[in-house]
Chain length 345, copies 2
């Protein structure tokens, strides 16, 4: 008999749980030997685009770590290709967009597509993962938010200063809003398709949104992200995540999400106060603590749990993804510790 | 007769001024054609290490932009070479350290040096700039703070996640503190030498400190940065700058600085409230606003000045350095606008 683990979904609804649910951003990834073994044979894009491989990678952490949710192995940038913005992952440099978006005509040339066709392999992977999981833990689907997706498409890859992105945003607000509206509609459709394929919750990643202040967030981003959450609302629980967001948490909450992710730069109780008591919170341990000694790692986790003080609606996670140099044993120990420490309270 | 511009130093002392003083981080740099012309003939390190060239670059913005202070053209990393950590600037990739610091023996092998000998070219440039400026505007000296310097030395260059830096910090706190103590003593000596050579104020750059939360800042950084400010205190006004610091501004103020720098992620009045009323504030316009239209740039500057509301102790600056793609006319217009708008109040 399969024991159905419902902690994660209960916490999304701010219900009481037997122990704090935990999952980790990038819980499938280079820190695991079995992932690295696959990456020796396949490129990142091959893993993402081949349902059987995406399923295998999604399940790798489920087999070894006491996590309360699986997250589909995929990449934020996958929808860029059918939009007409092809890219690849370049070793040691991350994603590289072939022809970055820079002009209004680039924006107008973006293609509309049906995610059920163009990203059918993602939806197929979701169905296969759900079958494999057989209810043991819920499955989280995800997509990038308009600012973060736009920043990759405009900068051509990862960016430190978002100079081109903000130059377009400030310099041609009409074009910016047209781009973000297109991205929001696309992301909303894509997430709805993921829900229909079987995901139990979705997370919207606005990973780099901390580059904006509240004023600019409100003007340039909020309405678009709001549109995405409106499209998914009522179907499954939603999580809204970004980094460096201490000064815009209230705005992120306003844009949407049943649960708001916070990073380690702000104490989680202060973050929750800014988010408000109508939302759950996810976070917020510094992922680099997994690179240090266990005592300090556990002390950091205990501090997060103590600050939350058992209040329903907390999902334990890191403030950002697991880093490649992380020892897998440390991740295993952390998940166990969070469960034991929170159950004992 | 030279008109002596004292606005900047008055603001450092929180005295009333006729107009808000303004200068820009990286006001000398690639956005200026005359700088790019020099860079065609000399490397970045040649410019830094040749007093006549450093003087020329320092003065370039003074000739074209209504700034109220000059800042010595130099680089945070210059002291790494005499410490025994050689580096170079690699085109398109920024600084690269030849052999990053990773072990206790790397730390113990760091050399002590006398900045008046090893960095004599910097001190000579200061004396020459002071002569050229002839009191027209004050000259700011600077150095990197221990966390930021350590992060370059440990990571080997610019970093997104500071994984190696934090792994050392968490994993071997004793070694981390020994490294930061060495860096703090070195930086303090170097800044004192700069003051003796003639700088009118100093800025300590802890550019990447926003990667830490308040707890870690207090344990791993505060005592070291405090030591630097204690060494310079009472000689000239001091500015303490970092980015992404919304949640640690009170701790930065506690570490030291007559004036605390804030970036654009936090409204400047909120930042000042966190810093406290015994300090001045510097900032905090988003540098990417210089890439957009003038109206939006001016609106952003007006918002900063309105939020400060004429309170003595404000130095107008960007939240980080001028970006290379910035049009010089926009910088000229911004400085003028800040003076006119604040004088009219």
């Amino acid at each position: 008999m399969v024991v159905v683990n419902t902690r994660f979904l209960q916490a999304c609804r701010r219900e009481a749980v037997d122990a704090t649910p935990v999952w980790f951003m990038r819980q499938a990834g280079r820190y695991m030997a079995e992932y690295r073994a696959l990456r020796e044979r396949y490129t990142m894009l091959e893993l993402c685009r081949t349902p059987d491989l995406a399923v295998e990678v999604t399940l790798q952490p489920i087999r070894r770590i006491e996590v309360d949710a699986a997250i589909l192995f995929s990449d934020l940038l996958l929808p860029l290709e059918p939009l007409g913005v092809p890219f690849d992952f370049v070793k040691g440099e991350g994603p590289q967009i072939e022809r970055p978006i820079r002009t209004e005509s680039d924006i107008d040339a973006l293609r509309r597509f049906e995610p059920r066709e163009a990203l059918a392999h993602v939806l197929e992977a979701i169905q296969l993962v759900k079958r494999e999981l057989d209810g043991k833990v819920p499955l989280i689907g995800f997509a990038g938010a308009p600012f973060t997706l736009a920043s990759y498409a405009i900068e051509g890859g990862h960016s430190n200063h978002f100079a081109e992105t903000k130059a377009l945003m400030y310099g041609n607000p009409a074009a910016w809003h047209r781009l973000c509206d297109r991205l929001a509609t696309m992301v909303g459709d894509y997430l709805v398709a993921q829900v229909e394929a079987g995901v139990d919750a979705v997370q919207v990643f606005d990973s780099w949104i901390g580059a904006l202040n509240a004023r600019d967030y409100r003007e340039f981003v909020l309405p678009h992200t709001q549109k995405i959450f409106a499209m998914v609302a009522g179907r499954v629980p939603t999580i809204h995540f970004g980094t460096g967001t201490a000064t815009i948490l209230a705005e992120l909450a306003e844009a949407g999400g049943d649960v708001i992710g916070a990073d380690w730069r702000i104490p989680i109780d202060e973050a929750w106060a800014r988010i408000g008591d109508t939302r759950g919170i996810q976070g917020n341990l510094d992922p680099t603590l997994l690179l240090g000694p266990t005592e300090r790692l556990f002390a950091g986790a205990a501090e997060v749990l103590d600050r939350v003080d058992g209040r329903p609606g907390h999902i334990f996670n890191l403030g950002h993804g697991i880093l490649p140099s992380t020892p897998v044993e440390r991740v295993q120990a952390l998940a166990k510790y969070v469960h034991q420490y929170s159950a004992r309270r």
